[in-house]
Symmetry: C2
Amino acid sequence: MALIVKKFGGSSVANAERVFNVANIITKDYAKGNDVIVVVSAQGDTTDDLIEKAKEINPNGCSKREMDVLLNAGEQISIALLAMAIEKLGYPVISLLGWQAGFNTDSHHGIARIKNINTERMKAELDKKKIIIVAGFQGISKYDNLTTLGRGGSDTSAVAIAATMNAQKCQIYTDVDGVYTADPRKVKSAQKLDEITYDEMLELATLGAQVLNNRSVEMAKKHNVELEVLSSLEEKPGTIVKEKVKMEKTLIRGVAKDTDVAAISVIGLNNNPGIAFKLFNALAQKNISIDMILQSVGRDGTKDITFTVNRPFANEAIEAIKLFSDNLEFSDIKCDSDVAKVSIVGAGMESHPGVAAKMFEALFDSNINLRMISTSEIKISVLIDENYADKAVTAIHDAFFN
Amino acid sequence: MALIVKKFGGSSVANAERVFNVANIITKDYAKGNDVIVVVSAQGDTTDDLIEKAKEINPNGCSKREMDVLLNAGEQISIALLAMAIEKLGYPVISLLGWQAGFNTDSHHGIARIKNINTERMKAELDKKKIIIVAGFQGISKYDNLTTLGRGGSDTSAVAIAATMNAQKCQIYTDVDGVYTADPRKVKSAQKLDEITYDEMLELATLGAQVLNNRSVEMAKKHNVELEVLSSLEEKPGTIVKEKVKMEKTLIRGVAKDTDVAAISVIGLNNNPGIAFKLFNALAQKNISIDMILQSVGRDGTKDITFTVNRPFANEAIEAIKLFSDNLEFSDIKCDSDVAKVSIVGAGMESHPGVAAKMFEALFDSNINLRMISTSEIKISVLIDENYADKAVTAIHDAFFN
């Protein structure tokens, strides 16, 4: 008898047939004697349809408070339908909205953070032997206003319940059957991983692998919640995400690409101390995150600094720097959006100095030029032309996994 | 400075254009310095669409608790959109779900009764000078489960707020511009009434005029809330519903038909005392309401009893009587569904004995046979063949209003 938390995304409950498919997965585990709490997202395109309705009213953006009221309706519909399907199968079940499940958040509408979960109601329903269906993505502020947790919020809801309720595991059901060494739609030789560490998963998530939302992995790591990523369409084991995994033959765990990147170069900065601080402070004040950084000193004694940001923030970053140009002398500023970041991730690479060489050799053999390089203990990223991103991923993947 | 409660039905907010039309009506009254609380139903066909989704999951009927969770989403969407439209017009506004507005109900899912309204939040928002948009039809039980108030529930929500908050008036906006002496789509000479009493409105609502929901009129009468039925499409005065109205020239206030009727005849009952009691007790135990009753004694000393019920309950009523047939001897039971009830309503008829004669004369002139008659202080109803219902309404209306 264990508590299992399961999370199903919007495509898994997109229509009545899929809802029953999910209901069968849930009741099978319940019938084995487990307690089951399920977190579910809004059906298929519901959230997009609701956003469209809001845009018809105000194309310039409605207030986030009312947007949260509107979007909460999406998950409300899916929990009711899933609970109805489980009732039809003859099992005891109850649906709970975010606030009913005790999700207390701050008041940052649209991107609220969970402050705590009051587990009283969920515990009472488990005591009554009910399967619990919780609306993901939802919370409530201390002023009794509905909130939402932002993108990927349902993953976060599921991990938060697993952590707070001490679940044995948290299963994230998707339309792929696990975490792969590369995107299986692009790289034929991509292999499914049996296990991966939180840190590796975090790097992969950050680097563009869209299986799990970053915040949920961070939370799982912090509370040591064992995650499993698996398919809602085929019944087979997925990928386990946990603190330590047994070493495998391969040195790296995966190859990922991120094309949502822009490189900004500030050229001809005078070479005084504190110049980098001033530059990045200007960006920090606008809440713009930077990723890779390259600094070079030219022969005339001026500096060039190139850095990458998420592509949608590129213009804002340039504006922020120009605003500070009184304090910051430079001759030119350039933005390059046709770039991609390709990365390898693996806890094993630290102790194997040949990993970077092998990656660069694969790129060299494919005639791909490296514009920037950045490394951490468990990853190496390179910035290349966007056109070559898929070719680079395949070349690197083949070098390590063939 | 007065508090005005306004209620808009689903067709009034069916799309973005209509939402802005409603937003304009609301902000116009607010701009005059009034406090405004608005109750709104689910958009257009939303509720039907949600019911359809539930039927796909379980055609035999889902649990009422989960049905309430599902249906609550409809009003949630419309309050958010209406609030967004009012924001866009530049006015301060907040949407509140039923539970946020303080609607505490009993636990009868699908047909919950309001126990009380905790007005704390609404008062706080009015103090902040906000227009309040409340989701009609919704409540919450003491177990923190969402409930719905049943058919016409948004009218009830609006009147309940008006009563509890001591509003100056409660305006019910519909797609007709008031209460008419007969259905204006069917009877050309139908006239709009300036005023009508609660009792008359109650009779008309019960008798098939679908302008106002019965429960909301009862509540308005009990708390002496002045109602106004008016159009959301044209700006002009509607019909005022209140305790006493000035007498008009006409003796009756309106003619209505109800085709949702079946007549059941129990034939050849032995003529013992208590036989009617036994019969109607059998129906009461199944919670079946009866309306008109006719008892006749035949030459052989047996009794026939004919009564009317709402058509959807006819089969259930027959089953209930057959179940009691051990205690209740009779020779036959018949059901006639091709009947309609046509009624006239008016507080003036009590003191004018000629009213019934005038009604029956009009029916006689049209060759329409009366099967049953029932009367109260302010109404006379006759049961006729359903085929003649519209003809009867027109004939009676012309007799009194031309």
